[in-house]
Amino acid sequence: MIEVEALTKRYGTFTAVDDVTFRAEPGRVTGFLGPNGAGKSTTMRILVGLATPGAGSAKVLGRRFADLPNPGLEAGVLLDASAQHAGRTGREVLTIAQRFMGLPPGRVEEMLALVGLTPTEAGRRVRHYSLGMRQRLGIAAALIGDPEVLVLDEPANGLDPAGIRWMRDLLRGHADRGGTVLLSSHLLHEIEVIADDLVVIGNGRVVAQGAKSALLQAAGSVVRTPEPERLALALHTEGIASSSTGPEALRAEAEPDVVGRIAFAAGLPVLELRPADGAGLEEMFLELTADTQRDPRDEAAA
């Protein structure tokens, strides 16, 4: 269980995290989604005690992270797989974690096997590791203490498709056994396939959260008609907002049956009418990222 409440963090005049509140429940994978620079990493750093909050609180298993007596046994953390001493071997990185946590030495080899690092690879120094190998090592270090809670920042970075599949199964299994998993990503599709719950963050604020199924559904309808302007006007008259999504297409903030009746009453032909599954979340996410994704033509003009 992770509880983040009214968390705020400012750096000078810049508000990195703005009144963020969410929970990650046991038995579920919670996806923490947002564009780069949205405040995901800052929130996670505060959660594990590497940064102090300006206001609000973040708790793991009911306590501040720093108050956990031996945190590695209760919460496994992977924030940045590259943040390791380049001169240590992979096995040594795990051995240090094993020693600090007071675990039996055999745990190191078990974890190496679990994440698929061969004994030869484990004996190499981390500076020679690919990003994918570093991620595997980081996941091994997070899991070594058999923790109930996992906090992982962009763990899929650098993993190949098979590795992503492997990690997805691993985290699913952890949640199915009652564990709490919080993982961040800036890619909607990556998190869509694994998360049960979503927390979407943009510019430091939570813009949407809830069960994935609910978030992906409540998104109105998609309607295609040869006369989109007239349909938009008819919808507007009934107090329903809509927006153009193509030459003949509209997205309306109402259920398909309502949109169908209005089109029929206005005498407008309808070519297609269906619930807008997931499009709402995707559009919202695109809007969020729009600020940071500049059009190449704008760039050329600037």
Partner: protein, 282 residues
């Protein structure tokens, strides 16, 4: 039963690839685990000083440079200079360089190599980590100095035997203790710079500026300015520390050492520790 012993050791190698459960949740029955004992933090920090190639060779260089210095005295010193104090001076130089660097790197590595990100999530109480690093560094310093003293003593026996002169032990135990203290103070100064600057390159440069550049400048100032000549013993840590190499200290000299250490060691260390405790680990 401790939490460690109840950890499941049920994983067989290779189970991984089939995505078998890595852990059995709920194997601990509600009671939170015991706190990490300080001795374990210290032991692990000691291990971290040796477990990289650079760390290992830095440690090895203690014995190697002491051997080299001793060998050089045997090879090049005139027969009448073959006394223990000559050996002690010879192995003292490399120690004064290597020990502070060992201490400062144990701290700065966490930032320069960014390993602090995992260290401080596994042990969130940064003060305990710093204290462990400090105590382990001092222990390493004392053991290194004792080792160097033994190597020097062996060199004295061998050297005088080769030269066919009497073996002279012109350094008392008290003098040796002073020399060890001087080197440990140098080591703690390196540690302090590591905590204060948290950058390997910055702390090493600062240490050499402090130990090589400042003393002649202070000497020059003392020679030309009467007011500084009188003040120097009370403000110049290098100056007060160097007295330790010249035999037993007077009460006044111990006072100078205490006052300058408070100024140059304790005060900046307190500032540095406070900053480390509060700063964000990137």
């Amino acid at each position: 039963m401790t939490s460690t012993s109840s950890l499941p050791g049920t994983i067989v190698a290779g189970a991984a690839r089939t995505a078998a459960p890595p852990v059995r949740l709920g194997s601990r029955t509600g009671t939170p685990p015991a706190a990490i004992p300080f001795a374990r933090v210290a032991r692990t920090e000691l291990r971290k000083m040796f477990d990289t190639r650079s760390g290992f060779w830095l440690m090895a260089s203690i014995a190697l440079t002491a051997l080299l210095a001793t060998g050089a005295v045997i090879a090049f010193a005139p027969d009448r200079a073959l006394t223990y104090s000559t050996f002690a001076t010879a192995f003292g130089f490399p120690m004064a360089v290597v020990l502070p660097i060992i201490a400062l790197l144990s701290v700065t590595g966490e930032w320069s190599q960014r390993s602090g990100l995992s260290t401080f999530t596994i042990v969130p109480h940064r003060g305990r980590v710093l204290l462990a690093k400090g105590l382990v560094s001092v222990a390493v310093g004392i053991v290194s100095m004792l080792l160097a003293c033994v190597i020097g003593a062996a060199g004295n026996l061998v050297g005088t035997a080769i030269a066919g002169v009497d073996t002279v032990w012109d350094v008392s135990m008290g003098d040796l203790a002073d020399i060890i203290l001087a080197n440990v103070l140098g080591l703690v100064l390196g540690f302090m710079l590591g905590v204060l600057l948290r950058s390997s390159a910055g702390a090493i440069v600062a240490y050499f500026v402090y130990s090589l550049v400042l003393p002649p400048l202070a000497g020059l100032l003392a020679a030309s300015q009467g007011w500084f000549h009188d003040l120097q013993p009370w403000v110049d840590f290098n100056y007060a520390q160097s007295a330790l190499f010249d035999g037993s200290l007077s009460t006044a000299q111990w006072e100078h050492l205490a006052v300058t250490a408070a100024l140059w060691l304790v005060a900046p260390l307190v500032v540095g520790v406070r900053v480390v405790m509060r700063s964000e680990v990137q």
